[in-house]
Every structure is written in structure tokens, then in C-alpha cells.
Symmetry: C2
Subunit: 511 residues, 2 copies
């Protein structure tokens, strides 16, 4: 692991120093709440949930009150008035914390509590509705959640479209107009690539290795070895198991990822591991001088996802990764598959009803569907009643398949039950930024990928993206580090390169 | 696991209700800090320590400020004025939280911070001094720590002896006069029993099984099985591993114990497990109606230790436990030892320099030594300079052996580096109360022990001790549940019964 670079004495302004002193307790609370969340998903005994939820609610309430502290507000106003005299780090602190304070002020506690209450019940009901494939059970909850989101959008404010207000929560500065422009190019291009891949025959729709079961203990040893291959710093991070893999950042020197072992189709565990590694690496390479400040995190959900997707899809599913993977699968799992065979196994392409099982080519069509429907629900041009039919129809238009039941359709994702509207688009933004990184490296330093030079890849990402944390807003970070704004172009180029050109010259890159 | 009994609506007084509402955030902070402590000892990656310590310090600081909240103080004063109209639970809340507030008020923040700073360094230096067997390294730190304890005693106040103020922190109401009376009977009686055991030849000083190494994976399976034998409620608790075994209470439905595998002498891991089980059972059987209040914990350190010692020594090292243990050791570890042989293996008696390796007979002599020296340091009748020689001389008087170096003498325990003066005596108090429980059960319901009726043993402890939590001060709880005040008598009787009488009729009880 590369030593993280240290900005020289980044916080000098007296007002910012006072802000950071006040922030310290918020940071400690976030540290505690993060650990409580990690523990809940990994080791907490089942019946501990009730106390854990109650304690988290108390601490979240305290966090909310601390954000509304008038002294903090006054300090932020003072700092905002002299923004031009602050350096980029100081400005980052004022911007990120200012955003948090504004959201806390805009949403009355009564609404926040109502949302917490409804979503907590809705998540349970959603699970039951999905199991029974019965949208009716979930409908009243989703209706209330949509109503709350619409109210939040009005309270947060927006210029063009109410959905903008929700997008901005997850991705500072992201707007409907950006996404409309993005998808209007990406969707038709994706469908062109998909048609050619499906008729081309090189990338299989299914692979026999997908049906192979595996020994979980052996898989555990494999995952540790793969993390060793990626130079995982065990003194600064952990690997554990949870029902839904995630990354938890408890500080620059304590970053934890999880994986799930389903017992069959080993690539699912391998790529979920590499995905979380990408998220974790971002935290591990943030400049130490930013530790315990509001900018010691990722720039946005989209930029974060770009890192996980870059490692999962572009590094991990690239031809350059196949020799290593072939050796490891042989050694640990007894899988006997040559690099080219593995490449096909980990890059199947098929229209599928389920987003989380989607491949690189079809994935963004799933997001486009959700984006379109969310936008309509929030602007009020569609009711929750009309949602299931709209979902199925759009799925058929985009991928040519129709869900046999809501379980494989409108009820498949947990996000809406959590009240997360405006979140899905950051997945596609992540894919877009990952492709922009690919294009940049592939044009300037192709040997980093072709030669699987992991140390230089990490350093490339550290220098341009990771070390800055949330110093810059995501759009500015992308512009600075990659020289252009996110657009569909790089992602389309990447898909065309990998799915249309690469099959003809795969052996050049299998290492 | 027995369902815990529920007091009917225990908190009715409006003032107490307001106190409990205020306490809720303190409870949530304690929950978070407990989890942070558990994680630090079990799973935290090594380099996470710096952020963890910083976060814990912030949260402890906040806890301190919340205890000093004038509104809370006012509510407690109001409740104290109408104490006679409150029920026992309400009085317990006022008493326990009132104690915490009084300590927080008495110790100025500057002194608390100084103690935290010095002990944090001293713990590191103590480790080095112990490794090098060089008391000089540790001496200046211990001097400062003793000075701080003396100052704390003055600030906390006392009637008879400054050491009383420190004892009271760990054991509400415990005084030098109690301990002087206790030890004046216990020490000579113990030495009489010890002399007869050593000359009797039934209990060996060493046993060949102590030299046997074991497979750690097999031991892990054994520990799980033993917890199953003890009806451990896995949905409400965990077993993990740590360098120093401990119990952490995160709530009535989340109680976690740890064990350490040294790879040899399996009884060490087994009895450390049963010891922590005793602590954990106390938390698991507290009345649910007391959850998330100041009285949802043990009554005191001494009462807590009585529970761990009762399970470890009286249940687990008793003849009644040997058949089960023999079966499990055969099944899991391949150890072929009949119950009588095992009984001798787990009940060796030998004068040893190290407290944590001491047996039931000699253990309290180690505590008497520390108690005597602590009292002198705190009252100022001995200097830190004189401490090592005083230790060695007293050890020779009590056990007839002299430490070859401070490593096996004055530097063996971590407690003083933590600033824990007044803590050691609670270990002996725990042994005393455990023996009182033994005497009561052995006279009223001997079949609970003789028949190893674990369910009824748990119920006996739940009904008389556990369910009350910290409702009563420890002296009152012991008086209520066992009908008398702690004294050496029961412990002397127990030692005489087990070590002098039992050898002649062991086969009656081996099951």
C-alpha cells in the first residue's frame, strides 16, 4: 500500500480551526455509529437489534442537534464570507459541513422522524411483499414514502425539477438535465452494443462454471489470498462476512469490507470482493492530513461507485486479470480453467430481469428504468398505482423480457423501502466515471492495465482522486482529475472496445 | 435460558421518568463506547487504535458534560427529597445515577484528563518494565498515579480512611474496617487450610495434564459445546477471542464473552470460559423492565465477581462437573481422564508467585498482599520506592516464596498502571459472596449442585440476585438475598469442606 501523501498544514484559518474543533464530536459520533452499523451486519447477536436501533436513534438525534448548534452556524457563515481567502481544503470543510447543516435545517425533525418510522416498517413489509410477490402489501408504504420525498424536495428547494433536490443529496450538483443528456446517448448506444454482442457469439449468455458449487472454507482462503494479491493492508482493514456485502470506513486506518458466500458460482463472491476493495482503497488513500475532518470521505456516491466499478469491471473483469485469477482458482478451488475460458465465464452478457445480476452492458438500462420511473413519481406525473405496469412495460421495451411477477420486477430492490430516491443514478454515474478513468489510462499509460501494474494503478488513482477526499465537489474533482465533465462518450467507447473490438485480439491482453 | 421476570411498571414517579428520559442519551453513549471497547479487543485492525482512542475520548468527554447537566442535577435533587415515596427501582435509579454525578462533580476535568494521560502512557511503560524486569522504569509513573489517587480520595471525601474513598468507587459502601475484619479471619484460616492440603497429598501441586498441548481449532469447538451445555443463548450473546478474556454487556439481549487459547493446559481456557459465563449470566438475567436504565447492570464489582467465581470454582471445579467435563474432553480433545483424575487436575493447589495462576486456597492471600500495600501507599505510610521490597517480604511471609525478579513480583499486574487502586479487594469479596451462595444452596437445596441442575441453579441466582440489577446497594442486596453480611466465615467453611472434608467422600459427588 502506497504511503498516503500529506498536505502541508492544510487548515490554518482560525475560523476553520474552530469549526474543526466543533466537528470533532460529530466525527466521534459518526465513528461510533459506523461501528454500530458494521457490527449489526456482521457479528451482533440477533436479539441485539432492538437496543442497537434505540441507541443509534439517540445518537442520530444528538448528531442532528449538534448540526443545528447556533455557534457552528455562525462560524460557518463567517467562513463563507471569507471563502476567497481560504485554501481548497478549508473551502472543502466549509462546503461539506455547510451542506449537512443546510439539509438538517431544511428538514423539520417531525418529518425526519416520520421518514425513519415509515421506512423502518416499510423495509419489513417490502421483504414480505417480495416473498409473496404481492405489490399491494407494499403499495401504501411506498405511497407515503413518495409523498415524504416530494415534501423533502420542496423543503430542500430546486431550480428546474423537484427530483434535482433529491439527486443532490447523494451527488452534489447532479441534475435531471445532466442525466437526461447522459441517458439519451447511453441508452441507444448500449442497445446497439447489446444487439451485436448477442448475435456475435463470443460472450456467452451463460457459462457452465456458473452452475458449479464450491466449498465455503476454501473460498474464504481464496478471498484472503486475492486481498493479499491486491496488497490489502491487514493492519488497516478487515474482511468479514455479511448478507449484503458493504464497505465501512471507520477512519483512514480502519476500513472494513465484507463478502457473502453463496456456495455456488464463485465469480459472484470474487467480484463482490473486488468491488468492495475499490470502495475501500478510496478511503485508505485519502490524505492523512484530512483525517477526522468533514472532507475525510469520498467526494460523492457516484465518485465512490466509480472506484468500485473500476476495480470490479475494468481491472477485475479485464483480460489482464485472468492469468492471476486462473492460478488462484486452480490453487484454492481446484477449478481448472484457462485464462480465455475464465474471461468468458466472468463476462457473460444476457438480458436479465434482476439488476444486481446484470452485466456491464445491460446494467445501465436497469438504472435508466429506475431513473425514469423515480422522476415521474417525484414530479407527480405517475402514481404508485401505475408503477408496476410501467416497470414491466419499460423492461420489455429496454431488454425484451417481462417480469413474471413483481418479485422479479418492481419489488426487486430494497432502496425505495429505505426512502432512497435519487440514489440509483449514482450507479450509472459511477460506471461513466470508471470508463473515463479507463480511457485516460488506456490512452496515457496502457501498460498499467495491460501489465496489471497494481501499485502504479493505485498510485494513479491516489494522486488524481483518492487523496483529495471530499475537498472538491464531484463535478470539479472529475474535471480536475480527468479533464472533462462526465458524459456517455467514454462509457460507450469502453463498451465498444471491450465488447466489439477486444474479442478479435483477446490474446494480446491475456498476459 | 430462563425467561427473565418483569417487574410490573417499575417507574411511575414523574421526576424519575424525566431522569430516565435524560439518561437515555447516556445509555446510548455507553452502548457505543462498550461496543468500541469490545471491538478494540477482538476485531479492530491494529492501526485503528489511534482513531478509536480519539473517538472514545470525545464520547467520554461528552458523557462527563451530560452528567454535569444542571437540569439533571436539579431532577436528582428533587427525587432525593421525596425518596421515601419512591419504590425500590426508582430509588435505585436515583442512587446509582446520583453516585455517578457526585463523582463527576468531585473530580475536576483537569485531574481526570491528567489521570487519563498518565495511565495511558503508564500502561505502555509498565509493559516494557515488566518485560525487562526493571521497576525503575515504572516507578515515576506509579508515583504520579499514587499521587493522583490520593488527591482523588481527598476530593471524593471519606470518614475514616482515604482508601475508603477509592474502595467506594468499585464497591459502594465497602470500607477499610470491613476488609480489615474480613482478612483478619480469612488469612490465618487460609494458611491453616493450605498447610493441611500441602501435607495431605490428595490435591496435587502439579498435574501431568498441565503440560499437555492442544489443538486450538478443537478447543474452539469444545468451548462452543460447553456453552451449549450451559444453555448459552446464542441469539443474545457471542463468544470471541481476545488476549485477556472479558465480558461486555451491550444490553440485556447482547452480552459478549471472550476466551484465549494458549495451546496448552486446556483447563485454563475452560475455566476462563466458565468464569466469563458467570459474569454474562448476571447480565442476561436482569429484569427486562430495568433495561436502558442506570440500574440495568450489576450491583457492584464484588457481586459481579461472586457470580463469575461461583460458576468457575464452585460449579465448574466442583466434583459434580467432572463427569460432563470428562465426556467433553474425551469427545472434543481426545483427553482420556476419568472424573476423579480430572478433579485433581483442575484443583491443583500450590503456592505460586502469580495471582492469575493462583488456586482457590491461595488466591486471597495474593489479594491481601495487594490490599495491604495499596492501603499503605494511599495513606502515605509507605513510598513507591519501598514497594518492591515490601512486596517480596510479604510474599515470603504469606506463601513462603520470594519473587526472583519484579516481573514475578510487584510488576505482575496491569491494574496499577490503569490507576485502579481499591479494585483488587473486590476479587476477594467476590470469593466471599460466592461461598455464601454455596453455603446457602448446600444447606437448603444441595441437589442443585450435587445433581448439577443448571436450570435450577440459574433460576436460584436469577430470583435472588440477577433480576434486581443495581436496584439495591451491594450490601443490601447480599443481606436481602443471603440473609447476612459478607464475612470470612462462609469462605473458610467452603475451603475447609472442599479441601479437608471432600477428599474422604469424593465419590459421593462425582456423579
Amino acid at each position: 500500500m502506497t504511503a498516503t501523501e500529506r498536505a502541508e498544514n492544510p487548515f490554518r484559518d482560525e475560523t476553520v480551526k474552530k469549526i474543526l474543533a466543533k466537528y470533532r464530536l460529530l466525527w466521534a459520533l459518526d465513528h461510533a455509529v459506523a461501528l454500530m452499523g458494521w457490527d449489526l451486519e456482521t457479528y451482533m447477536p440477533r436479539d441485539g437489534i432492538s437496543d442497537r436501533s434505540a441507541a443509534a436513534e439517540e445518537l442520530e438525534g444528538l448528531r442532528h442537534r449538534l448540526l443545528l448548534d447556533p455557534e457552528l452556524g455562525q462560524l460557518l457563515r463567517e467562513a463563507e464570507e471569507k471563502l476567497d481567502s481560504l485554501n481548497v481544503y478549508e473551502r472543502g470543510v466549509v462546503r461539506v459541513l455547510g451542506r449537512e447543516v443546510r439539509v438538517a435545517k431544511a428538514i423539520p425533525e417531525e418529518l425526519a422522524r416520520r421518514e425513519a418510522r415509515v421506512t423502518s416498517k416499510a423495509t419489513v413489509v417490502w421483504r414480505e411483499a417480495k416473498r409473496k410477490a404481492d405489490f399491494k402489501l407494499f403499495k401504501p408504504y411506498l405511497e407515503e414514502i413518495v409523498e415524504i420525498q416530494r415534501r423533502k424536495a420542496e423543503l430542500l428547494g430546486y431550480e428546474d425539477h423537484p427530483y434535482d433536490a433529491l439527486l443532490d443529496i447523494y451527488e452534489e450538483g447532479l441534475r435531471v438535465r445532466d442525466l437526461d443528456a447522459l441517458f439519451s446517448e447511453l441508452v441507444p448506444a448500449t442497445r446497439r452494443v447489446l444487439d451485436r454482442v448477442l448475435s456475435g457469439g463470443f460472450y456467452p449468455q451463460r457459462h457452465p462454471l456458473e452452475d458449479e458449487s464450491y466449498d465455503v472454507d476454501k473460498a474464504r482462503a481464496l478471498m484472503k489470498r486475492l486481498l493479499d494479491d491486491l496488497d490489502w493492508p491487514w493492519s488497516r482493514g478487515r474482511l468479514d462476512e455479511s448478507a449484503h456485502p458493504f464497505t465501512m470506513d471507520l477512519g483512514i486506518d480502519d476500513v472494513r469490507i465484507t463478502v457473502r458466500y453463496e456456495g455456488h458460482d464463485i465469480k459472484r463472491a470474487v467480484y463482490s470482493l473486488v468491488h468492495e476493495y475499490g470502495h475501500a482503497l478510496y478511503h485508505l488513500q485519502i490524505d492523512r492530513a484530512l483525517a477526522r475532518t468533514p472532507i475525510a470521505g469520498g467526494a460523492s456516491m457516484g465518485v465512490h461507485e466509480s472506484q468500485s466499478r473500476f476495480w470490479e469491471n475494468i481491472v477485475g473483469r479485464g483480460p489482464w486479470f485472468m492469468r492471476l485469477l486462473s492460478e488462484r482458482l486452480r490453487e484454492y478451488m481446484g477449478v481448472d480453467a484457462a485464462p480465455e475460458e475464465l474471461y468468458r465465464y466472468v463476462n457473460t452478457v444476457r438480458p436479465d430481469l434482476i439488476r444486481v445480476d446484470a452485466d456491464e452492458v445491460t446494467y445501465n438500462l436497469h438504472i435508466y428504468l429506475r431513473y425514469t420511473l423515480e422522476k415521474k413519481l417525484i414530479e407527480g406525473s405517475m402514481t404508485v398505482d401505475e408503477l408496476p405496469e410501467a416497470w414491466d412495460t419499460m423492461m420489455e421495451e429496454l431488454l425484451g423480457i417481462r417480469p413474471p411477477s413483481p418479485r422479479e420486477g418492481v419489488l426487486q430492490d430494497i432502496h425505495w423501502s429505505h426512502g432512497s430516491f435519487g440514489y440509483f443514478p449514482t450507479y450509472t454515474l459511477g460506471n461513466v466515471v470508471a470508463a473515463m478513468i479507463w480511457r485516460r489510462i488506456w490512452s496515457d499509460n496502457p501498460e498499467l492495465l495491460a501489465g496489471l501494474d497494481l501499485a502504479r494503478l493505485r498510485e494513479w488513482l491516489r494522486e488524481r482522486i483518492h487523496r483529495w477526499g471530499a475537498t472538491f465537489p464531484p463535478k470539479e474533482l472529475v474535471e480536475r482529475s480527468l479533464g472533462e465533465q462526465p458524459s456517455a462518450r467514454a462509457l460507450v467507447e469502453y463498451l465498444e472496445w471491450k465488447y466489439l473490438e477486444l474479442p478479435g485480439k483477446l490474446h494480446e491482453y491475456l498476459g
